[in-house]
């Protein structure tokens, strides 16, 4: 069962600010979806390995070489706020 407190905690983890109405709706809807998902517990998966990814590829390496890349001005062009070559944000602490 998912509670309103759970929703508030998860919203903080996800960096979302929810209105009172959203908290209400998400508590109800997430509860329903998770209840629906509990059907997975019908299956015994004790000895089943998880499948995170379907391709049998691991550790894709490449040579550590400098290649063409975007110049800082192109990257910074979209910054909502900047100072010189830096992204500017409000105070952190």
């Amino acid at each position: 069962m998912i509670t309103r407190e759970d929703v508030e905690h998860v919203a903080l983890l996800a960096r979302l600010e929810l209105s009172e109405e959203e908290k209400q709706v998400y508590t109800e809807q997430l509860g329903k979806i998770l209840e629906y998902a509990s059907v997975l517990n019908e299956l015994d998966t004790e000895d089943v390995p998880p499948l995170a990814h379907v391709l049998p590829l691991q550790n894709i390496f490449r040579a550590d070489e400098v290649k063409a890349h975007l110049d800082p001005e192109t990257v910074l062009k979209h910054a909502p706020d900047r100072e010189g070559k830096h992204f500017r944000v409000p105070r952190l602490v």
Binding site: R15, L16, P50, H53, V54, L57, A79, F87, P90, L92
Partner: protein
């Protein structure tokens, strides 16, 4: 001659024979856009001037005797989660409003080599999360066959554009059915390639272990031609499969004699509209008439696809969408401190469905719930994959409806997320298993098109094309178009 409704392979021939110019063709598509776009709303933006310039370059190349590649001069629409350098890419989200990518996706680079003409960026459910295109942060798209109905989603704009003659080809992306379900609803062909066949570099990530870019086209030959152009290994995508890609048009023979086709009983049971069942039965008759062996089979774990998917995809999404924080690009809602800025930016920038999935995914990954939800879902994913591996020991292909119903009414399912999720019930397992599947028109339910889905083993796109092509030739639906 109505150029906008001819397939790319015929238009390519007309271009090479100089019976039509690329500029005439682009002009015809934009006239069509002018005539119907205010009702369909398939696009978020169109690129008329750039497209005409590209078309002029194709005509000049042709005049100078240059050998054109198969898709040169063909108007193609791009789903708005694929980066096209210098053109706004928003994923239909307010949080990316104004974002102009400084690079091309690999698929776009490859299509530029072909000299494709890019018509514009198409509407979609925000961040590809949805099944109706109603979750677009800007406006919904209408189904060209019935303007009161949805085109499906999330690649609804791309499917509607092709169906309405507003583009000849389109790119979509498919995480749980987002190419195939709108293809079914709009009466066009849509392919979800094997995971790893098409580079995801430049595709805005939703659920990285499930996402694939694929073609949405007027017929099966066009689908094979477009896959030829975009498939193949890309060192910039570490999940791209390092293997050779065949010429898929070589599989286009109308012959399915001896093909063993399995129909999972889990996919023809409850929840299917009778008119969809009728189309499936008719398709089975046609395939058997052509000499295929169709038999019932079972994929015992596919009924767990929906709950597994709605834990895995939101979990991956919650992680992928953490990058939208208002720091480097996109929307920023100012605040006194940085955490409040993140929260306000994300709360105002994301729509309801995106927030719902971020919440669900964050919950499923959070301390104390990870094993019970996320890890459990990944284990069930193994069981689903094994079901397909087993089935493909006995069958060449699996056949099912693409969606349980024809296109539904706009607004019908918006208030009930679970009802909306159920419209992907037959497509989700394919993404979880990483196998390829194609939706091809199978018939009509009244005035609405209904697609069927062929599913194949990994990298068996050729087999899918062969079966879909044979069915297309036999079903004789190609001349049908919406009375728009």
């Amino acid at each position: 001659m109505d150029l906008c409704f001819l397939p790319a392979h015929e238009l390519g021939r007309l271009l090479r024979e100089k019976k039509v110019s690329a500029v005439e063709l682009a002009g015809a598509v934009y006239s069509r856009i002018d005539a119907v776009e205010s009702r369909v709303k398939a696009y978020l933006l169109t690129l008329k001037e750039e497209a005409l310039n590209q078309a002029r370059a194709v005509d000049a190349a042709l005049a100078s005797g240059e050998e054109l590649l198969p898709l040169a001069g063909i108007p193609l629409a791009v789903k708005d989660n694929i980066c096209l350098r210098g053109v706004e890419t928003t994923c239909a989200s307010k949080i990316l409003k104004g974002f102009i990518p400084p690079y091309d996706a690999t698929v776009i680079e490859r299509l530029k080599e072909q000299r494709v003409v890019f018509t514009g960026k198409t509407n979609m459910d925000e961040f590809a999360m949805g099944s109706s295109t109603e979750n677009s942060g800007f406006y919904p798209t209408a189904n060209p066959w019935d303007l009161e109905r949805v085109p499906g989603g999330s690649s609804g704009g791309s499917a509607a554009a092709v169906a309405a003659g507003e583009a000849v080809l389109a790119l979509g992306s498919d995480t749980g059915g987002s190419i195939r379900q709108p293809a079914s609803f709009c009466g066009v062909v849509g392919l979800k390639p094997t995971y790893g066949l098409v580079s995801r570099y430049g595709l805005v990530a939703f659920a990285s272990s499930l996402d694939q870019i694929g073609p949405i086209t007027r017929d099966v030959r066009d689908c094979a031609l477009l896959l030829n152009a975009i498939a193949g290994h890309d060192p910039r995508d570490s999940t791209s499969a390092p293997q050779e890609v065949p010429d898929y048009t070589e599989f286009l023979v109308p012959d399915v004699r001896g093909f063993r086709i399995g129909i999972p009983r889990e996919y023809v049971g409850e929840g299917i509209a009778p008119e969809v069942r009728a189309v499936l039965n008719r398709v089975v008759e046609l395939l058997e008439g052509m000499g295929a062996e169709v038999e019932e089979t079972s994929l015992p774990h596919v009924r767990y696809s929906l709950p597994a998917y709605y834990l895995i995809a939101p979990a991956e999404a919650s992680s992928n969408l953490a990058r939208y924080d208002g720091v480097r690009y996109g929307l920023r809602v100012p605040a006194e401190d940085v955490v409040t800025m993140y929260k306000r930016t994300r709360s105002q920038g994301f729509g309801a469905e995106v927030k719902r999935r971020i919440m669900l995914g964050t919950y499923a990954l959070s301390a104390g719930y990870y094993d019970a939800y996320y890890l459990k879902a990944l284990k069930v994913r193994t069981l689903i994959r094994r079901d397909f591996d087993e089935a493909f020991k006995r069958f060449d292909l699996i056949l099912s409806p693409t969606a349980p119903t024809p296109a539904f009414k706009i607004g019908e399912k918006v208030a009930d997320p679970l009802a909306m999720y159920l419209s992907d019930i037959f497509t989700l397992a394919v993404n979880l298993a990483g196998v390829p599947a194609i939706s091809v028109p199978g018939g009509f339910a009244g005035h609405l098109p209904v697609g069927v889905q062929f599913i194949g083993p990994p990298f068996a796109e050729g087999q899918l094309f062969r079966a879909a092509y044979a069915l297309e030739q036999e079903a004789g639906l190609a001349a049908k178009r919406p009375a728009l």
